[in-house]
Amino acid sequence: MPHIVCLVKQVPDPETPASQFKVDEAAKKVIPAPGVQPVPSQFDTIGVEAALRIKDKLPDTTITVVSVGPDSFRDSIKTGLAMGADEGVHVNDPAVNDADHWATAEVIAAVIQKLGAFDLVIAGRQATDWDMGVVGSTVAEILGVPVVTIAKDVQMDGGKITVERVLLDGFETVEAPAPAVVTISNEFGEPRYPQLKQIMAAAKKEVKNWTCADLGISPPANRVTLEALFVPETKVETEVIEGETPQEKAQKLAQRLREAKLI
């Protein structure tokens, strides 16, 4: 029975207006915008979609959604289950809630090893909070399996993973033997939205709660130190184009762009 593991996490909603984006520089953390709920990282839900498309063709496939992080990360697992994944694993251990990308990858690799046999791990090409883009590759290296990054399509067929990998001016088709890790990009397409019935059904699906002790590992040490987090100064001087009518404003903007040799 094919087994696909999808890596997911929860992030601040990237649709938050830029003006509401605030950072606590002392704590080196983003201050959640009031009234804006965190969401699953979009590349991760695209990854779940990619797994579901494989399951559509190979119905006996089991999809496990894995997340390492605090309580709020459970929602990203729930989303994956509501979309159609079969089971979840949440590593919610205070000892790794401030884990960096490499410590997180160590924990994920331990989860995958504990789950047993797998054919494919799908990760987002990056998470939309830290935008680092290293976890999928690092997990592959720890597990000693091939990795293909930045995919726009993934197919699985009899122990062979076929991936269309995004290039600057097109794409390449590559093949890797299973098991392998693939990181998925937005070129894949949109993830499905769970229907109410699926959301209800997802409530009955099992989410295992594991700690580092359950995994038989000690909490891995971080390899990077976050020295500072800040909102960069935008040094733009804005000129508001004045005018009595839209026509007047149009004329003035065209003039300004001409003066700046931009049109």
């Binding site: 207006p17 883009g133 392998a180 937005n186 000129e239």
Partner: protein, 324 residues
């Protein structure tokens, strides 16, 4: 004791030295050097001298047919070997198709970490301080790395390239030493996608539309404007989600990152995820009827107006100034 800076240079597909190489040598020199350039590929031997002309002390060339097309499995063994032999304090890659794939894998093999997509590198004593955009460019993070070597990938065109001088660099050739059986991933085919008209990523002018346009019909006018300006049309995520415009035109965190000389944003409010796609654009002109639209803060020109009357008038005005 780890010492010096190892940079991974690159060749372009048509056999030239990728300009990112000079940027990496410049960064390595600014970090104190001495710089060693590693150049991996097929047919790259002839580029070694140029790679050494930017102030590097040494160029290590691995010119092998097995490295013709980039496959991580093939590039990783020579990259790891060179890293271990050179024993640098710092390793730099470009944030290119190769760097973003290879650097994280090399970091794990060397038991260290890599700060990806950096826009500023500094040293604090022996410590590398790597600054990089995160949260789609809404924030910047500064990292130090608690292991050796300290690795970073550098955003293309973010740092000053070193100037070419007389080459005094020692040039050393090495075999790839790749066991074909270790290359698990095979490239079956490559396909170039020819874009119609100007590619969004190459366009000097991008005219982009958001949810404020109220429907797909408005894009005809945006296309007309883009045509006149020799530019391309972009769209916000909301617009693509609603099916008003093709996803291929989506600009932002989960769409395309664009770097035109001029970005005209119409009916776009400026969610962080959209701003992530235009964070390097210096000239943004935005049109929005909401005077508090977040995008105005990042715009050089702000027009508070209803697009419906503005855009047709603007098209006429643009025609006029271009005819003048």
């Amino acid at each position: 004791m780890p010492n010096g800076v190892l940079v991974f240079g690159e060749a372009t597909e048509d056999g030239q030295l990728n300009p990112v190489t000079a940027e990496l040598v410049g960064a390595g020199t600014a970090l104190g050097g001495p710089v060693t350039v590693a150049l991996l590929g097929s047919g790259v031997q002839g580029l070694a001298e140029q790679a050494g002309s930017y102030g590097a002390q040494k160029v290590i060339v691995v010119d092998d047919a097995v490295l013709k097309e980039y496959v991580g499995d093939a590039y990783l063994p020579p990259a790891e070997r060179i890293a271990r032999e050179t024993d640098p304090a710092i390793i730099l890659f470009g944030q290119t198709m190769i760097g973003r794939d290879l650097a994280p894998r090399l970091a794990q093999r060397l038991g260290t970490a890599v700060a990806m997509d950096c826009v500023k590198l500094e040293k604090n004593g022996d410590k590398l301080i790597a600054e990089r955009p995160c949260y789609g460019g809404a924030a910047r993070a500064r990292y130090s790395i608690n292991a050796m070597p300290q690795m970073a990938t550098v955003r293309v065109k973010a740092l000053e390239p070193a100037e070419a001088g007389s080459s005094g660099a020692e040039i050393v050739s090495q075999p790839a030493g790749v066991d074909a059986s270790a290359v698990r991933v095979k490239v079956i085919s490559r396909k170039k996608e020819e874009a119609e008209g100007v590619r969004l990523e190459d366009a000097k002018v991008v005219v982009s539309g958001g949810r404020g346009l109220g429907g797909p019909e408005a894009f005809t006018q945006l296309e007309e404007l883009a045509n006149i300006l020799g530019g391309a049309v972009g769209a916000s995520r909301a617009v693509c989600d609603l099916g008003w415009y093709p996803v291929a035109a989506q600009v932002g965190l989960t769409g395309k990152v664009v770097t035109p000389d001029l970005y005209i944003a119409i009916g776009i409010s400026g969610a962080s995820q959209h701003m992530a796609g235009i964070s390097s654009v210096k000239n943004i002109a935005s049109v929005n009827k909401d005077p508090d639209a977040g995008i105005f803060k990042s715009s050089r020109w702000a027009v508070v107006t209803d697009w419906k009357e503005f855009v047709p008038a603007f098209i006429e005005e643009v025609k006029k100034v271009r005819a003048a």
